[in-house]
C-alpha cells in the first residue's frame, strides 16, 4: 500500500520526529561542498534556520545582514548577478512575508538565481502566536512568475529539496517548519522538482474512492488517516505534492481520474494555497470535487502545535471525518 522507499515505521506511535529545517541545514552544507558558488545569507536567525551549519563550514561565504529581510532579498539578487547562488533564510513571515516586493522585483523579475527559505511556517510554530505563523506564504510565492515553490514534508525531503534548489537555475522558495515532525521518507526516497509522488495506494477492493493530496508537515496526518480509512472500508490514496509550482499536472489528472473526489490538506490558508492550485488546474482540465482542509480565512494563535493543527482542522481525526463525508 505504501512504497518501499518511504519510512517503514510511519504508522508507529514512537516514530522518530525531527524538524525539517535540520534537513535544510545539512543540505545547504552539502550544496556548498558541491558548488563553491553557493553562499548563505541570514537576517539574525542563523541558528534557528540551521544556516549555522553552513556558516560554520564556510564562514567566508556567509553574510549576516542583521534584521533586514528586505535588504537581504536584494543583496542576494546582487550576489546572484555576480554569479553566486545565494540562499536566504529567515522565518517565512518575514521572508518572503515582509520582503515580497523585493522578492518579486529584484529576484524574480531579474531572474536572479536566489533560493528563499521560509522557516517556521504554519500554525505549528505554536506558542509564538499568529504574528509568527506564516499561513499565506505559498499563495504569495506561487503567484510570482518564475518562482518554484517547494514544501518538503520532513528532514530528508528538505535536504533533497535544498540540493535540488541549488542545482535548479532560477528563483526557488522552500517552505520549512519549526517543530519536530514524523520522518516520513528515507534518504533514498525519490525527489525531483515538479514531480508528485503517491505515498499510499488505495485498497482496490473498496467501492468508494477518495484521494488525499497533501504536503509539508501535515502529510503524515494524511497518511495516518488514509491507513485507518482503508481499514474502515473507504479506498483512500495519498499524494505527496512536494512541489506546488510547477504543478505536476499529469500526476494530478491521473490521481483525479482514479478517485471519486479529492481532499487537500495543507498547513496554510485554503485561499491561494495547495488546494487552490489543484482546483485551478482540475477545474479546467478534469472537473473534480476538491474539498480543502487548511486555515479558512483566520489568523493563528498561541498554543501547542498539535492542538493548533487540530483546532484549524488539519489533524488525522478531521481528515478522517472529512473523507467520510466526501465519500458519502
Amino acid at each position: 500500500m505504501t512504497p518501499d522507499h518511504i519510512n517503514p515505521n510511519i504508522f508507529d506511535d514512537n516514530i522518530e520526529r525531527v524538524p525539517n529545517r535540520n534537513g535544510y541545514g545539512e543540505g545547504l552544507k552539502e550544496a556548498g561542498e558541491k558548488d563553491e558558488r553557493v553562499v548563505a545569507l541570514s537576517a539574525d536567525l542563523t541558528g534557528s534556520t540551521r544556516t549555522n551549519i553552513f556558516a560554520d563550514a564556510f564562514p567566508d561565504r556567509f553574510v549576516q545582514v542583521g534584521i533586514g529581510e528586505q535588504s537581504m532579498a536584494s543583496v542576494a539578487s546582487g550576489m546572484a548577478a555576480m554569479g553566486k547562488i545565494p540562499f536566504i533564510a529567515s522565518y517565512a513571515m518575514f521572508s518572503p512575508g515582509r520582503s515580497w516586493e523585493q522578492v518579486r522585483t529584484t529576484i524574480a523579475y531579474n531572474n536572479a538565481n536566489v533560493k528563499i527559505i521560509g522557516a517556521h511556517s504554519g500554525v505549528s510554530v505554536g506558542p509564538d502566536g499568529a504574528t509568527h505563523q506564516a499561513i499565506e506564504d505559498i499563495a504569495i510565492m506561487r503567484v510570482v512568475p518564475r518562482m518554484t515553490v517547494l514544501v518538503p514534508c520532513d528532514v530528508h525531503e528538505a535536504r533533497r529539496a535544498t540540493l535540488a534548489a541549488a542545482e535548479h537555475e532560477g528563483p526557488v522558495y522552500i517552505r520549512l517548519a519549526r517543530e519536530g515532525v514524523p520522518v516520513v521518507t528515507t534518504p533514498g526516497s525519490p525527489f525531483a522538482i515538479g514531480k508528485a509522488e503517491v505515498y499510499m495506494r488505495r485498497d482496490g477492493t473498496h467501492a468508494k474512492k477518495v484521494g488525499i493530496i497533501s504536503c509539508g508537515v501535515v502529510l503524515h496526518n494524511a497518511l495516518m488517516a488514509g491507513k485507518q480509512l482503508n481499514e474502515q472500508g473507504i479506498g483512500v490514496s495519498v499524494m505527496n505534492l512536494a512541489t506546488i509550482k510547477p504543478l505536476d499536472t499529469e500526476a494530478i489528472k491521473a490521481f483525479a481520474e482514479e478517485h471519486d473526489a479529492l481532499v487537500t490538506v495543507e498547513e496554510h490558508q485554503v485561499a491561494g494555497g495547495v488546494g487552490s492550485a489543484v482546483s485551478e488546474y482540475l477545474s479546467e482540465e478534469r472537473p473534480t470535487r476538491v474539498v480543502k482542509l487548511g486555515v479558512h480565512d483566520k489568523f493563528g494563535q498561541s498554543g501547542d502545535p498539535d492542538e493548533l493543527i487540530a483546532h484549524y482542522g488539519m489533524d488525522t481525526k478531521t481528515i478522517i471525518e472529512t473523507v467520510k463525508k466526501v465519500a458519502g
Binding site: 553562499v39 567566508d60 561565504r61 553574510v63 545582514v65 542583521g66 533586514g68 528586505q70 535588504s71 537581504m72 532579498a73 536584494s74 543583496v75 542576494a76 539578487s77 546582487g78 550576489m79 546572484a80 548577478a81 555576480m82 554569479g83 553566486k84 545565494p86 516586493e101 523585493q102 522585483t105 529584484t106 523579475y109 531579474n110 531572474n111
Partner: protein, 328 residues
Amino acid sequence: MTHLMKTGPVDRSCVFNIIILILASHTIYLRHMHYLTDAEVHELEAKANEIRQSIIEMLFEAKSGHTAGPLGMADIFTLLYFEVLKHDPKNPFWEERDRLILSNGHICPVLYATMAHAGYFPEEELLTLRKFGTRLQGHPHREVLPGIETSSGPLGSGLSQAVGMAIAERMENPYSSRYFYCLTGDGEINAGQMWEAFMHAGKEKLHNLIVIVDRNGIQIDGYTKDVMPLEPLAEKLAAFNWDVQEVDGHNIRSVNDAIGKAQAVYSQPSVIIAHTIPSKGVDVFERDFRWHGNPPGKGPEERVPKGEQADEALRRLRTLGGQIKPGA
C-alpha cells in the same frame, strides 16, 4: 582581505594586508584618477546637452515619464559613461566591466539617452520609450536591454543589490579594481531599505562601492524638506561609516574629482551627495517639483503652455549651449 573586513585581533598577516591594500588603493587612485582639461570638460558639457535634447524628445514622444530627474542628472551620467566607467558599449556583458546600478529607476530616460549616445544601441530607438514591445521599458528591465545591470523602479532596493554585488566581488577577488556605482535619488532615501543597506555596507567596509545621491530637493509630492526632511544627510551617512563628499552635481570637473577620491577610499564605502537642479538645462522647468513625474506637453503651464513645452525646451537647450558651465 576577508579577515581584514571583520573586527578581531590584528595579526601580522592582517597588517600586511592593510599595507598591500593601501598601496593597491593608491595605485588604483593614480590609475583611474584623470584630471579633466578644460577642453575635455567642454566636450562633456556639449555631450550632456545633446543627451538633454534626447531626453526631451523621447519623453515628448512617449507622452509619459519623468523630466526633472533625468535632466538634472545628465551631467553626471555623461561623465560616468564618457569618462569614468570601465565598460564597452559593443560588449555590454564584458566580464571586467564596472557595474552601474540605477536604483531610482524612474530617471531611466537619462540612462537610456546616455547609453544610446555612448553606442549601446541606435539613438532612433530612444523614441520607442514606454511603447509596446520596446526595450526601453518605463522602468528599466535588465533582461530586455543589454547594459542594464538590474531592473529597478520600486524605490529603495538598488543600493542593496549594489551591496550584494560588491560583497560577491570581494569574495571572488579581494584585490579587484572593479567599482560598483549606485545612483539614487534623495527622495528614495525615505525608504527604510536604503538605511538597511547603508548600515550593511558600512559594516562590511565596502571600499568598492560608490553611491551618488541626486540631491535635487524634490520628489513627487513636493520638496523633500516638506515631504520628509533628510538633513543633516551628510552627517547621517558619515555616522553609518560612509566616506561622504558633497559636490555641485553640474560641475563635471568637481564630480570627476570626487569620484577619483571615492575610488581611493580603502576602508569605507563612499557616497557623493551631488547637489543638482531638477530639470537643469531648461530654465523654465527648473526647480519646480511638478516636473518630477510629467513629460513635456503635460507639465505645469504657467511659464510655458503645454503645447509648446517640448519645442521650447529644445529651443532653450540648443541656444543655451554656453550657459551650462562648471559651477552653474
